[in-house]
């Protein structure tokens, strides 16, 4: 007890010290980045703090995406929420439904008189975080989209021609056969199976993942990813798994380690895998656009994003919100965004940042790094390719993971697994609807 009291005294003294030392307003910013990404965020914060002396942003790492969201929710319930909370795209519907817990970003900017135009953002990024009437609720921060990573050395060794196309899944199938017959143990693997092979697959082929514009138009949305396009794709992957051409490594990005170690030839993963692959891969690698099915009309549409956005929490003073507005404005400036994009492989979320990166000659020096941007911006998003806004989505992804594992192990057909995932997921959507009625 004595130790606790002492600790509390020290902690409160530590908290009070900077306040008494200067009149700076402290802005609490909770994020989910570790390692290289954590360093880059810290650098951004430092740069902002050094650029002015009215506000001091304090960045705190709160665990992985789920843990950070949880920490924010628990803190809000205790009345100790941070000013800015990083929430992954899966939590977007949860945050949007929590009207009393957040302050929309457009409102924050408007009140603080900071110029802000949501049209500065890339369409597919903007769409994910704005209401149907175009108001941006959270600030896009790190967004990526899935691409196909290729170990060129392994393909060469297997005798795959340099110009053999990898544009469609039909093309990929041929290359996989060639790789397998030349004795490659792991011709293809993936990260984030639901995100890449169902969510993005649906958007890319302009078919709905869920009704009500993938949940954008209302809480009464129902899952629809058991349509013919998705079933065909998952069944094909299942057949490849049976032949040992597609190797499942786990629910998250476990496959990344295999690709970087040079044991898997093809790898579907986020464009943000770039930083890791570039620093670890001891082979020639290439980035290709995500393949699509050549026989589906309207494909390729555009892929959708993954990643996180920054939410401003409710219940703070105007002084704090002014600081938050300045900080968010700083983060979305072209220079900061361009550097972030080039360091990490995340998308340049504003058009200006993309333009700046091009002017700096980054894409010429690093071929393939603009593929993700092109793939996302090739077409204007349709209601099937704006993104997803589904409640309880973290759990729904868990269900999809479970059901897909049934396909990879050969226990279920694609149709059975997807039907079951849709039915189970719909129950969770109804619960979310009930909770937010």
């Amino acid at each position: 007890m004595k130790n606790f009291a002492l600790g509390a005294a020290i902690a409160s003294a530590a908290l009070a010290a900077p306040l008494s030392a200067s009149a700076q307003t402290e802005i609490q910013f909770w994020h989910a980045f570790t390692g290289r990404l954590g360093e880059l965020v810290d650098a951004q914060v430092e740069q902002f703090n050094a650029s002015q002396d009215e506000y001091k942003v304090v960045a705190t790492h709160k665990g992985n995406y789920s843990e950070t969201l949880n920490a924010g929710i628990a803190a809000f319930r205790a009345g100790e929420q941070p000013d800015v909370l990083m929430v992954f795209e899966v939590g977007t519907a949860t945050m949007m439904a929590a009207k009393g817990a957040i302050k929309p970003v457009y409102q924050v900017m408007e009140d603080a008189g900071v110029p802000f135009n949501s049209d500065d953002y890339i369409g597919a990024v903007k769409g994910y975080y704005t209401t149907t009437d175009g108001k941006m609720l959270s600030l896009p921060f790190n967004s990526s989209t899935p691409v196909l990573w290729v170990n060129r050395d392994m393909l060469d060794k297997a005798g795959v021609a340099k110009d053999a196309p990898l544009t469609t899944w039909e093309d990929v199938g041929k290359v996989l056969d060639q790789l397998k017959s030349s004795g490659v143990d792991c011709p293809m693997t993936t990260a984030w199976q639901s995100w890449i092979h169902l969510e993005n697959l649906s958007a890319y082929h302009n078919v709905p993942f869920a009704s009500e514009e993938n949940g954008f138009a209302g809480l009464d949305t129902k899952l629809e990813f058991n349509g013919p396009v998705q079933v065909k794709h998952i069944q094909t992957l299942g057949d490849w798994a049976k032949k040992g051409e597609f190797v499942y490594k786990g629910r998250r990005n476990e496959g990344g380690a295999d690709f970087r170690a040079g044991t898997c030839a093809l790898f579907t993963e986020s464009s943000a895998g770039y930083a890791g692959i570039k620093s670890e891969a001891k082979f020639n690698f290439e980035v290709h656009p995500l393949p699509y099915w050549g026989d589906v009309k309207g494909a390729p549409q555009n892929t959708i994003i993954g990643g996180a956005s920054l939410w401003v929490m409710a219940g703070k003073s105007d002084e704090h919100y002014k600081g938050v507005a300045e900080f968010l404005n700083f983060l979305s400036s072209p220079e900061v965004q361009a550097k972030w994009h080039q360091d990490t492989g995340y998308l340049p979320i504003t058009k200006a940042a993309a333009e700046l990166t091009r002017e700096q000659g980054f894409y010429d020096k690093n071929p393939g790094t603009d593929i993700a941007v092109k793939q996302m911006t090739a077409n204007a998003p349709t209601e099937n390719s704006k993104g997803l806004r589904l409640g309880n989505f973290d759990q729904i992804r868990g269900i999809i993971d479970e059901e897909l594992e049934g396909v990879w192990s050969g226990d279920k057909t694609a149709q059975e697994a997807l039907d079951s995932a849709v039915e189970r997921g719909n129950q969770l959507l109804r619960r979310f609807e009930a909770a937010n009625r």
């Binding site: 789920s66 969201l69 949880n70 929710i73 809000f76 319930r77 949860t94 439904a97 929590a98 009207k99 009393g100 817990a101 499942y248 490594k249 786990g250 629910r251 476990e254 380690a257 295999d258 170690a261 044991t263 309880n392 973290d394 759990q395 868990g398 993971d401 479970e402 059901e403 594992e405 049934g406 990879w408 192990s409 226990d411 189970r424 129950q427 969770l428 619960r431 009930a434 909770a435 937010n436 009625r437």
Partner: protein, 293 residues
């Protein structure tokens, strides 16, 4: 003769039990009551609103075939964990008890794994069995066995059972070792003079004398398997492949703390409370009858 000590008045006895009662109320009755209350609602994660649904959360759960299947998974898992953590512990304790030299060293080494937190133990085992870099997986592969707990349900179950039991063997070992030292040497020597061999003596004399310890460990280990193993499951399998390792408590954790579905999570903890309560009553009613104190 009644040797019971009686207090005069009420104040002192009340004062003496107050700390225990207070701890139970604060750390058990209050949260348990809160869970029962919350299980009747679907709240939003931020605590801004709550929808009263009566027994709707329970209805939702028991209509879900996957939830019902998770009872079977839990039963298999906790039986295996209890067996795998108790039998080797007893075996090691018997061996260590017979040691003349170096018993202290063996004892210390055997107790060590207990100091490892479940989540850390999970990561350690995952490293050994990792399909890409795991040492054990590598040698199994050399022997022609293709280890893949990422997709093989039985292998996944085996791995979480072993990882959950490993540290627990130390705990059980400690109790058995102490209990063995308390077995009167004279009884064993008498049996030896009568010609009973070691294993005969063990099964007819030592094991029955250990039964209070065995019973205690049985209760404690089942509770452990039910409630404290989600760290291991979270780090190794996250409940997969499919739902092969989704035990009840892991689902409580995943739905409540990852999925923000607090109503369902609360209802699940109420169900778990009832299940473990029933199990404990059953154990005390039936198993304890066979215990000789």
């Amino acid at each position: 003769m009644d040797k019971r000590v009686t207090f005069k008045g009420w104040l002192l006895p009340l004062l003496l039990i107050a700390p225990q009662v207070l701890i139970s109320v604060v750390f058990f009755f209050y949260p348990a009551g809160e869970a029962v209350w919350q299980s009747l609602f679907i709240p939003d994660p931020f605590g801004l609103s709550m929808q009263y649904v009566g027994l709707g959360n329970f209805e939702f759960l028991f209509n879900d075939p996957y939830y019902r299947a998770s009872f079977v998974t839990t039963a298999v898992f906790s039986t295996l964990v209890t067996l795998v953590s108790m039998v080797p512990a007893l075996f090691l304790a018997v061996l260590a008890d017979r040691l003349v030299k170096g018993a202290g060293t063996y004892r210390t080494l055997l107790i060590w794994p207990y100091a490892v937190a479940p989540a850390v133990a999970g990561v350690l085992w995952l490293f050994m069995f990792n399909t890409r870099i795991g040492v054990v997986a590598f040698y199994l592969n050399q022997l022609g066995y293709d280890w893949n707990h990422v997709l093989n349900q039985n292998e996944a179950m085996g791995l979480v059972v072993v990882a959950s039991s490993w540290g627990r063997i130390s705990y059980n070992f400690l109790f058995y070792f102490a209990a063995l030292q308390a077995v009167p040497k004279s009884v064993i020597e008498a049996a030896a003079i009568d010609g009973a061999r070691f294993w005969r003596r063990f099964f007819t004399i030592v094991l029955p004398l250990l039964s209070p310890t065995t019973f205690f460990l049985l209760v404690v280990n089942i509770v452990y398997a039910f409630f404290e193993t989600f760290g291991v499951i979270h780090t190794i399998t996250s409940g997969g492949p499919q739902q092969a390792t989704t035990i009840l408590v892991y689902k409580v954790y995943a739905d409540g703390f990852v999925g923000q579905d607090l109503g369902s999570s609360a209802a699940q903890s109420v169900v778990l409370l009832v299940v473990v309560g029933l199990l404990t009553v059953l154990q005390f009613k039936f198993v304890e009858k066979r215990v000789h104190y």
